[in-house]
């Protein structure tokens, strides 16, 4: 998901103060978690790099084939296409979700009671599985049996998932439907932490609502924006379930993002070598994006956003 860096050693007493009989027991407490994470996280991560230099059909023997998989993947026009679709989905879903989430979050941060009710209802899409959401929208958008046909509104009777541009649009919409509520709640939390005194001072200076939003709210939300964007961007690399059930990467290859590309090469075409190479690219893209966003947030993103307030 995201990198929310913590300066190691913060609030930590010097080793000597925690000396005594318990001190040597502490590292052992971390061992079980470490073992699970190494076994099913770190080793597979190394494994995916190793497997990208082999040929394997998923059942038989694994044979080392050097750079064959990489050559095949890098020469395949499918790769730039998958990268492009991944980027498109990432950028568009960020562009739709971020402004909407900020506006809704700012609104929800008010104190009226009904806004609490809003927050409760907003959360519902987060409870549904991506598979359930995809299935619902597939039924809802079906040109013959869906909503458009039922309401007899021609505008809604489109081959939503059969036209490449429409299918991308549907994916963006469904992603927004699923995640805008969550990000709104993040921003709601962020806005509530801005000291009232800042707004009051601005009001005394005669700042209007719009001015206050751009001069106080938005700058003060900087770190919330970075956290939320990191979750959105890195999360968008893992939109597998939703797209797989909704379009299976189609029509054609219109919504074939990297994760779908990896699955199809590996588990449908039984080419685990090239699929592993795609997985390596996926990891690389995720790391680069997380680092970029972290750089944006300055070196110490966990410092108070209120500094200098």
């Amino acid at each position: 998901m995201s990198v929310i860096p913590l300066p190691s050693g913060r609030n930590v007493p010097p080793a000597a103060s925690s000396g005594g009989r318990g001190a040597s027991a502490l590292p052992w407490l971390a061992v079980p978690a470490l073992a699970f994470f190494v076994g099913f996280g770190v080793i597979p991560l190394i494994g995916v790099l190793l497997l990208s230099f082999t040929s394997w059909d998923g059942l038989g023997d694994i044979s080392v084939t050097g750079f064959d998989s990489w050559r095949a993947v890098l020469a395949d026009p499918g790769l730039p296409h998958a990268l492009w679709v991944t980027f498109l989905v990432m950028a568009l879903s960020w562009l739709v979700q971020t402004p909407a989430s900020i506006l809704i979050g700012v609104f929800l941060a008010g104190q009226q009671r009904y806004r609490a009710v809003l927050a409760v209802l907003y959360f519902i899409p987060l409870l549904l599985s991506s598979a359930a959401i995809a299935i619902t929208y597939k039924a809802l958008l079906d040109p013959n049996f869906g909503l458009g046909a039922g309401l007899e509104i021609d505008l809604l009777v489109q081959d939503w998932l059969g036209e490449p541009a429409l299918a991308i649009g549907v994916v963006i919409f469904v992603v927004s439907w699923q995640f805008i509520p969550f990000h709104s709640l993040l921003y709601q939390g962020g806005v509530r932490q801005i000291p009232r005194s800042m707004f009051e001072a601005a009001e005394l200076d005669g700042a209007g609502r719009v001015r206050k939003f751009f001069s106080i709210t938005l700058p003060q939300l900087k770190y919330t924006i970075i956290t939320s964007s990191t979750l959105m961007v890195v999360g968008s690399l893992t939109f597998f379930d939703l797209i797989y059930v909704l379009t299976a990467g189609g029509p054609g290859d219109a919504t074939r993002v990297l994760a779908i590309d990896m699955y199809k090469r590996g588990f449908q075409a039984n080419l685990m070598g090239p699929a592993s190479a795609i997985a390596c690219i996926l990891v690389l893209v995720g790391l680069v994006l997380a680092l970029l966003l972290r750089r944006l947030g300055g070196r110490d993103a966990s410092a108070s956003q209120l500094e200098g307030a």
Binding site: P14, P27, A30, P32, F37, G47, L103, L186, L282
Partner: protein
């Protein structure tokens, strides 16, 4: 980030410190309000449609206005879903969710406690960095080696095959959130426990755990949600219908009965019901804890 200012013993206390009511007479926020209400409609309308349609018969579905409540409500869709093996899938999902969440939260809590209390140790510092790195990596990218490992362990097509990687995937975020909360426990309390001669284990159990219970509940619900709704691992690591979990069953049910929209939607409702119950029970803590944990 509020908690970087407030140093209450637990974040739950900080959550109650709400800012004062906005002054009366401030002009209403029309833009934000309009968008919020429109988006509420966008969220609610499909959910309303799912629920009412799931009670319609297939023939009524085509005859009626899609937004009209069912004229002859029927439970046949639910009956059909249950008869097509959903109890089995439900039990499978439950086994995987409990089997993965309980150990994941337990080992994450122990690790988070060790990382906060023993931060001076190089081993614990690098363990923490490793978990943080895990947050940046789309773990789905590791499914091919996981598939290989599961095959070699002769666990393919078992529920244990889903449980083991699910635990690993849950650890980075759980450790991050839990350690953020344990860090807010005043050092003096740890110190007095130590002077009383309590062991680290006793301190974890009798001090850290009770004081961070909201965080533990949050992490538990969050992980349960992610694992309950997980799709990729079951898709790759199981094949027989007997080992199916709900999301996968849902997808194959839809493939089978795509024409019978009400039945498909009844299946959607049934798979979401347990999560809805969990949400109603733990809503306050989930909302408060999740945003606090992420906005750290």
């Amino acid at each position: 980030m509020a908690t970087t200012l407030t140093k209450e013993p637990s974040r739950a206390a900080a959550q109650h410190a709400r800012p004062p009511r906005r002054r009366l007479g401030e002009r209403p926020n029309w833009l934000g309000g309009t968008i919020s209400w429109i988006w509420l409609l966008v969220v609610i309308v499909p959910i309303y449609w799912i629920v009412i349609t799931s009670f319609k018969s297939q023939s009524n579905y085509y005859a009626e206005n899609p937004f009209a409540p069912p004229s002859e409500p029927t439970l046949t869709n639910y009956q059909m879903v249950i008869e097509s093996g959903f109890i089995r899938y439900f039990v499978n999902s439950l086994v995987v969710a409990i089997g993965a969440v309980a150990p994941a939260v337990a080992v994450s809590f122990m690790a988070a406690y060790a990382i906060v209390r023993g931060g001076g140790s190089r081993f614990l510092r690098s363990t923490n960095s490793l978990f943080l790195m895990g947050l940046a990596i789309p773990l789905q990218a590791t499914v091919i080696p996981i598939y290989l490992i599961i095959i070699r362990l002769h666990l393919y097509d078992t529920l244990l095959a889903l449980i083991l990687p699910s635990i690993a995937f849950a650890i980075p975020l759980s450790v991050l959130v839990l350690s953020n909360f344990i860090r807010d426990v005043p050092k003096e309390l740890f110190e007095s426990m130590r002077l009383d001669g309590a062991s680290e284990w006793g301190t974890l159990w009798h001090l850290a755990l009770p004081l961070t219970r909201p965080a533990v509940v949050t992490v538990t619900i969050y992980n349960a949600l992610a694992i309950w709704n997980g799709f990729l691992l079951p898709l790759i690591l199981t094949q027989s219908p007997e080992q199916r979990t709900l999301p996968l069953a849902l997808a194959s049910f839809q493939g089978q009965y795509s024409i019978n929209v009400p039945a498909v939607l009844a299946a959607v409702v049934l798979t979401t019901l347990p999560i809805l119950v969990l949400y109603v029970l733990g809503r306050r803590q989930l909302l408060a804890g999740l945003t606090a944990g992420f906005s750290k």
